[in-house]
Amino acid sequence: MVDNLIIPLLKIVIVLNATLVAVTYMVLLERKVIAWAQSRLGPMRVGPYGILQPIADAVKLMIKEDITPTRADKWVFTAAPIIAMVPALIVYAVIPFGPEVSLFGRKITLYITDVNVGLLYVVSVTSVGVYGIILAGYASNSKYPLLASLRASAQLISYEVAVTLTLVSVILVAGSLSMVDIVRAQEHWHVWFAFIQPLAFGIFFIGGLAETNRAPFDLPEAEQELTGGFHTEYSGMRFALFFLAEYANMIVVSSVATTLFLGGWLRPFPNVAALGFLDPIPSWTWFLIKSFVFLYVFIWIRATLPRYRYDQLMRLGWKVLIPLAIANLVVTGIVKVVLAT
């Protein structure tokens, strides 16, 4: 009873709440980092150094008037933000934050569940998230959101191919689809997969930027052309849901990248014994630090790079990343067969 019901429920509650808090503070971090990059201060008024700004934002969004356009498709308009948000949250079910720990004399795993098809679960759930974007654009019954949502979904579908192909080469190296087993494989090989699969890592990172609609691939939200993107007609909490979904997806991409390429909860250089003094640090801190570095780089890139043009984006996806990912997969397969014989 306790092991099968209460502990998993507690874990779900903790992970969901931690994610939502992390998402709201990601927004603050982004505003702060971009402000620093542009020699500004960023939010400073609410609380010391603006640390209460996310709460003020949330209150403002919740009490704002919620408008549904008259000609909008009412049901789909209401459902779209929910469809965008839910997949971004249920992915966390398989992300391993750490190995087993004992707490109050009980062995507790630091992941909600470890399924045999973990990585495929992540890919399939995130592929459903694209409906939120398409339907938001369609249901608004307005030109710019429709164009933005078509752009966004074309971009998502194109980059999904390249990203999934890089995942296949990681699966080949690890020999398993389970997220926990992939980390264990890196422990067993004494090396992070970023060093075995550097090309896959690079493609995954670029694809991850594109799939979360982040700069320099944030064409669906190009203000100058599209007045703000697929959520132009949304206001109040529904708009906030799209925003939260985008940041939750960023956290998902960084967690998956950490798990697959940076050794998940393992300490840096797991094969160097001289770094053994790092072992007492709890393993989940490593996971959080690595994911945070990823998120910081996401923001850093947004503050640094200008936006791609749409045709450049498509050319990069189809003519560069996908062929490279396929070549990487073929080479990985050949090397694996050669090593096995």
Binding site: W75, V76, N116, V117, L120, S124, V128, Y131
Partner: protein, 170 residues
């Protein structure tokens, strides 16, 4: 008992959404009901302890193919009022009789087919691998190799055909 309740609940949802898919006037809503239908079929696979099939169902059908349906439906804009259709050659009863024939056939299979006599679980014992994904992979590359290769050949042909159609001058 619990499994039976779960099965009949899922089956009711699947049938209900299937009816909604064909009865809804708005094409986009109809496509959305199709997505829900696919998701519930995936849940049915989970109930049958086939998680690999379930995630592939979501990935390929709900997340891939139906997105393309939605693209097509949104781009061609079918929002006109449905016209009354008077085709003199239309056979209204034919569909009904065909559906009845399929129903009788399915009933006969359920009553007298191989599933009624013995469940085919003998093969799984001979497999050298454990885990759902590994077992599916093993079966695909041993017992079902030829169907698998034929299916991939068909997909390749379809892909080449699409490229040839889309690109007039190569």
């Amino acid at each position: 008992m619990g499994q039976a309740i779960a099965f009949y609940t899922l089956a009711a949802f699947i049938l209900g959404f299937a009816v909604l898919v064909v009865s809804t006037k708005d094409t986009v809503h109809s496509v959305l009901f199709l997505v829900l239908d696919f998701l519930f079929v995936a849940a049915l696979y989970v109930l049958l302890a086939a998680p690999f099939l379930a995630v592939i169902q979501v990935l390929v059908y709900a997340g891939g193919i139906v997105v393309l349906y939605l693209f097509v439906v949104m781009l061609v804009n079918l929002k006109r009022a449905p016209e009354a259709h008077h085709d003199p050659h239309r056979r209204t009863k034919l569909g009904f009789w065909l559906a009845a024939a399929v129903l009788v056939e399915l009933g006969a299979i359920a009553a007298y087919g191989p599933a009624a006599s013995a469940p085919a679980v003998t093969q799984t014992a001979a497999m050298p691998v454990s885990g759902n994904t590994e077992q599916v992979g093993w079966l695909l590359y041993t017992s079902y190799l030829i169907p698998f290769e034929i299916a991939s050949m068909l997909l390749l042909v379809a892909m080449i055909g699409a490229i040839v159609l889309a690109k007039r001058e190569l």
